[in-house]
């Protein structure tokens, strides 16, 4: 059994009277891809926000790499080894692709305030940062676009940049929110290949609507409807679960 890197137990998030996430538990293991699927409004993005620290849970616990993180700030959770990509592209549009990823990579440098290099040294001359940056860009397949301003790249390239930034902090746990959103056939295939490659040494949670991709990538599947988990197991188990068929996949997939 691989390592359990992130474990969420009985997570609930209420907004007023509405429970957007209701008693949801999820485990993420190293070398595994755990996909979370469900119709729009099922609470998948809210769940991702709870795990990444963008929202504090109303109740429940989250253990990341051995530390309890429910309600912690996004920056402290990121530092504990979690990387998150966003469904709605969340990059630095006026900066080049290189500068986008470089900033993410720089966050792992421990420059102390009394080190003058932090204030008057050149940011582009940080060797360790540059290495991490180059590696992340290469993984995401954007090396040839490094010097392009992010705001002028195509939608698919921006999704790739989204992943590159997530990888630049060298996280052990990856939360990927619809990485394939809006992608054409060829781009989606590259992204799927990348996600396969990333499986090694990472624990991954994938929120996706593209069912073909999900079934080809996922080792574990969790189905959410109206904030609750209605099924969780291997793709084969979930596919044949009558509850899931009725609620989500439709009779055609039986």
């Amino acid at each position: 059994m691989s390592d359990l890197l992130l474990s969420a137990r009985s997570l609930t998030k209420r907004f007023g009277g509405l429970a957007a996430v209701n008693d949801v538990s999820v485990d993420l293991f190293r070398d595994h891809i755990h996909a979370v699927i469900g119709p729009n409004g099922a609470g998948k993005s809210t769940l991702t926000n709870l795990l990444s620290g963008d929202l504090p849970p109303t109740s429940g616990s989250i253990t990341l790499n051995g530390t309890e993180t429910a309600g912690h700030s996004p920056e402290s959770i990121s530092r504990l080894g979690l990387g998150r990509s966003y469904q709605k592209t969340n990059i630095f549009l006026p900066f080049t692709v290189w500068d986008n990823v470089r900033l993410a990579a720089q966050s792992r440098e421990r420059h102390w305030p009394w080190n003058p290099l932090r204030w008057i040294g050149s940011a582009q001359a940080m060797a360790g940062v540059n290495q991490r940056c180059e590696r992340a860009i290469e993984l995401a397949g954007l090396t040839h676009r490094s010097q392009t301003v992010a705001g002028t790249t195509s939608h698919g390239e921006q999704r790739q940049l989204e992943i590159a930034m997530t990888l630049a902090t060298e996280p052990t746990v990856l939360l990927l929110d619809e990485p394939l959103a809006g992608m054409g056939q060829a781009e989606a295939e590259s992204m799927i290949a990348l996600l396969q490659k990333l499986k090694k040494d990472h624990a991954m949670m994938l929120v996706e609507h593209d069912m073909d991709a999900v079934f080809s990538l996922a080792d574990q599947l969790t189905v959410m409807v109206n904030g609750q988990v209605i099924a969780s197991g291997t793709p084969a188990e979930v596919r044949s679960d009558p509850l899931v068929q009725a609620a989500y996949l439709g009779e055609d997939h039986a």
């Binding site: 990444s52 963008d54 700030s73 996004p74 920056e75 990121s78 530092r79 990387g83 998150r84 969340n90 990059i91 630095f92 549009l93 006026p94 900066f95 500068d99 470089r102 900033l103 993410a104 720089q106 966050s107 792992r108 440098e109 420059h111 305030p113 290099l117 932090r118 204030w119 008057i120 040294g121 050149s122 940011a123 582009q124 940080m126 301003v149 705001g151 930034m165 630049a168 902090t169």
Partner: protein, 333 residues
């Protein structure tokens, strides 16, 4: 305030040349014989001091995206610090008074920043204004602190160091060159800061603070550091102002002073410090021009400001960049 406006950071060759020429012109100015030399020396000294003040605000506003309507508080506090430190009958040492005044202003910025930096957007604008007013009233209402009349700075600071007489700041020309040197030094420091690891983080916070937090930056700490540093540099400017004019009053910390600084930064173009210098000189020049023109200069000033916002929201440097791009000249990368 996370609008991702592409900002001019690397200066195009033309602007670099302009700045260099400007520096040479400023350095050469006292050598030109003139009847009203004293008047112009004073005017230019004040413009240079305000340029330092504007640059300190640019660090906050242009680079970090934090619009402070209360930046003058730190400018004024350092000026008052010099006034308090200077005894009635002898000058205070420059090497002691300048750091203490600037760091005092920085400390005030740190304390106020602690409350203010936790707010965002329009709240940040309002609370910075409110705290600056608090400082204003602290001095305005208390006779012991000078009250509404203000205080005199009886002597310019003494630049003697270990017995070496060095420079005499009471000499107008010497003080002018000292101010010019400070302007160049602060500019050089801020330009390096802009491209340093710290500066890049601030730029990232301006463009997308949410993502910065998501990749692991403690943005509160960075913003507070920027706020404190900006306050300290504003203190340097305030110290020089008090030394130059020999007088401080609560208006130095007032709302108009803060708003003028914002306008200087916007007028010149934000985020590269060169714009702040250009803006400070341009703004002061325009204001003097209008004041000489008519008693109702405020009408012209107000109209001028409205026109700038409507037609040139990225300031003079932004206009020049647009103009160059139209002519097909590529700005240097």
């Amino acid at each position: 305030m996370s609008s991702p406006k592409a900002q001019l950071e690397k200066l195009p060759r033309s602007v670099q040349v302009l700045l260099a020429l400007g520096a040479v012109a400023l350095a050469a100015f006292p050598l030109v014989p003139s009847d009203s030399a004293d008047f112009y020396l004073q005017m230019l000294s004040q413009m240079m001091i305000l340029a330092i003040f504007a640059m300190s605000l640019d660090l906050l506003q242009g680079v970090s995206g934090l619009v402070s309507l209360g930046h003058a508080a730190y400018f004024g506090l350092a000026g008052y610090a010099l006034a308090f430190l200077t005894p009635a009958d002898t000058p205070i040492s420059l090497w002691w008074a300048l750091p203490v005044s600037a760091l005092g202003a920085g400390l005030a910025a740190l304390v106020i920043g602690f409350f203010v930096v936790r707010t965002h957007g329009i709240y940040f604008i309002m609370v910075t204004m409110a705290f600056a007013q608090m400082v204003f009233f602290l001095f305005f209402d208390n006779k012991e602190l000078g009250g509404s009349d203000g205080l005199y700075v009886n002597f310019r600071p003494d630049a003697t160091l270990f017995g070496w007489a060095g420079i005499d700041l009471e000499n107008k020309t010497t003080f002018y060159y000292f101010t010019l040197a400070m302007l160049v030094a602060v500019y050089a420091f801020l330009r390096r800061l802009l491209f340093s690891p710290f500066g890049r983080v601030l730029a990232g916070i301006r463009v997308n603070e949410h993502r910065m937090r998501a990749v692991g930056y403690g943005t509160f700490g960075y913003k507070l550091a920027a706020f404190t540093l900006a306050g300290t540099l504003a203190g340097v400017a305030g110290f020089l102002w008090a030394a130059q004019t020999g007088f401080v009053n609560p208006d130095l910390m007032g709302f108009h002073m803060s708003a003028h600084a914002i306008m200087m930064v916007i007028l010149g173009g934000m985020g590269n410090f060169a714009g702040a210098i250009v803006g400070a000189f341009a703004f002061e020049y325009v204001m003097h021009f209008f004041k000489d023109l008519t008693k109702h200069w405020q009408l012209l000033m107000g109209g001028f400001i409205v026109l700038v916002v409507v037609f040139a929201p990225r300031g003079l440097l932004g206009l020049s960049e647009k103009f160059q791009r139209r002519r097909g000249v590529n700005s240097d990368e």
